[in-house]
């Protein structure tokens, strides 16, 4: 499936001690492009065109989820990559890591119900024109599983107002689906520049009919489109 005659774009999937969803993320990315695992202790991103920070319990979630992973050698490179405009997707623990790294606004706190919750959730696509949702349809409803105990998105009122004004809220839990108590029903946010995106639900677990939904694929397909469009313009 080469386009523009160039090599296929490549996803780099980070792997920390305690990651547990990196293999699913690898398989999901390989449905649309090439993908390779990147070990946390190695700062080399191996020429990846896009980065996925996957779910799990990096460094045992010690101190706070994502707090220690944020200082790993690979994350120092990811921060540089993101600051240079490279696309970075954080899923669940990866979202926590990106918030801890201040690549995304806000923080994730324990679920309001204090329970680990694993369920399929409905998400509304607030913006279908971002680097991460251009292959989705604005207003579409995605069915994607969520599984976490530390997923209550929080940002203070000033930050939330600024995020809304700048269109940084990309995904919201559909009405009645906000089980973790996130501010403003926020499920997925992007940075101001639009090249870093994080969400608590797991698109990599929704790429095969066997698991009930393929709605997660559009996020990976959007990232591929972003990279290829940029290559075509360069």
């Amino acid at each position: 499936m080469r386009r523009f005659g160039g090599p296929r774009m490549k996803f780099g999937i980070l792997q920390f001690p305690g990651s547990c969803d990196e293999i699913d993320a690898l398989h999901a990315a390989r449905r649309v492009a090439d993908a390779e695992l990147l070990w946390h202790g190695d700062s080399d991103l191996k020429g990846a065109d896009a980065i996925v920070v996957p779910g799990g319990f990096s460094y045992g979630d010690y101190l706070r989820a994502g707090a220690i992973a944020r200082f790993s050698p690979v994350m120092e490179s990811v921060i540089e990559f993101a600051n240079a405009g490279g696309p970075v997707l954080g899923i669940c623990n990866g979202f926590q890591v990106l918030c801890e790294a201040r690549l995304l606004p806000g923080a994730l706190l324990p679920n309001a119900n204090l329970r680990f919750t694993f369920r399929q959730v409905a998400l509304d696509v607030v913006d279908g024109e971002t680097a991460f949702t251009s292959a989705c349809v604005k207003g579409a409803r995605l069915s994607i599983p969520a599984k976490h105990s530390w997923g209550r998105y929080y940002a203070n009122e000033d930050t939330l107002a600024r995020m809304r004004a700048r269109g940084q809220v990309v995904l919201r839990y559909a009405r009645g689906e906000n089980f973790n108590g996130s501010s403003d029903d926020i499920a997925g946010v992007r940075n101001e520049r639009g090249n870093v995106f994080g969400l608590m639900p797991h698109p990599e677990h929704a790429v095969d009919e066997l698991s009930g939904s393929t709605d997660g694929l559009c996020l990976f397909a959007s990232m591929r489109r972003t990279v290829e469009d940029r290559a075509a313009c360069a």
Binding site: L63, R64, A67, I68, F71, E100, G106, A107, L109, P110, N111, A112, N113, L114, R152, Y154, A155, N156, G181
Partner: protein, 71 residues
Amino acid sequence: MLIRPKAGILDPQGEAVQRALPALGFEGVSHVHVGRMVELDVPDTSQLEPMCEKLLANPLVEDYEIVLADS
């Protein structure tokens, strides 16, 4: 270092503890908050604040307090 949730941010752990106390006969308890404590020896106490800001606390959602004890 004492680290606790910032005032005004929902603290479901504190609320759960507050609800449990009356069941044991401890009436009238309010404003329960659950945080964490980090204990350490340090050669230079001026390191403590940047340590809290960078790693031990998340200043977006947590307040911290530094308590010095004589060794």
